[in-house]
Point group: C2
Chain length 188, copies 2
Amino acid sequence: MGRWEPDARGRLAKAALALYAERGYEQTTVAEIAKRAGLTERTFFRHYADKREVLFAGAGELEGLFVGAVAGAPESAAPLDALTLGLDAVAEMFADRREFACRRQAVITANAELRERELIKLASLAAALTGTLRGRGVAQPAAGLAAEAAVAVFKIAFERWIVPAEERPMRELIRESLAELKAVTSGA
Amino acid sequence: MGRWEPDARGRLAKAALALYAERGYEQTTVAEIAKRAGLTERTFFRHYADKREVLFAGAGELEGLFVGAVAGAPESAAPLDALTLGLDAVAEMFADRREFACRRQAVITANAELRERELIKLASLAAALTGTLRGRGVAQPAAGLAAEAAVAVFKIAFERWIVPAEERPMRELIRESLAELKAVTSGA
């Protein structure tokens, strides 16, 4: 109890994902996750509020990184350039997490409540980015539209990145999606 | 019982919105809605599955109109041109519903469960539009990006349209948002 467990957080996340995939998210208990990770329930609750939090802890980190990069973009950067820096920061964060991301997505896709939670996180991200752009002096509705478009680019690049046959890094898929967005909005 | 009530559906919706605004959505019962409308509960359930349905019945109509207009666009129309026809159809549908839309939005904003439901409806709309564009031969990720961008244009134009001080028709706000989207995506 209370002693330091090397990478307890990572071990718990890995054990949780494995169990969600084996038995289903609903059927898995925190006690089982802790046991599989060779840790106590108490240790679990020092790292995660509940079993859902294991899946969404990264969303806060993602939002922080994305918003931070946009806020820190050169003052002269156009909205989409600032957002592109945010997308790059997100791609870097995901670079070594592909396996976790794929497993996580399979769990989320299979559960309506988790899919809703994911939509809420994306809406929260769009709202945070809109606020950051407003803080950089971008007027509405441009700020909201640019933020929503950037979230769409992330969402679609992410969906492509986790397809098993896809071998390109997320950064490349994000760049491609950005280029497609520009093409599709200039083509009409 | 069973006799024809002139515009029962509209009267029920109006009564429901008034009660949701007065007492809160959670506190309002179907019995109260029916009574306020001068109708029976049985009549209510002939028109709506439950009290939430009063708020979201229009979302199905919106999706049908939007998707239908995109599907019916000339074969030669670029993705964003086809989506613009869909946005115009939606603007026309809302033209005489501003008061209802404003009241509805106030109820939804005040309730987390209803806000989630609204996000789900918008995600469903984006998925349906993506499928329609794919059916028109638009490749991925262009189809998904164009669809998500069009939903963002609708969402942001709608938010602006229901601001009390706003006097322009939704169609104009949609055109403005489309122009802003093009400017913001071409500017970087």
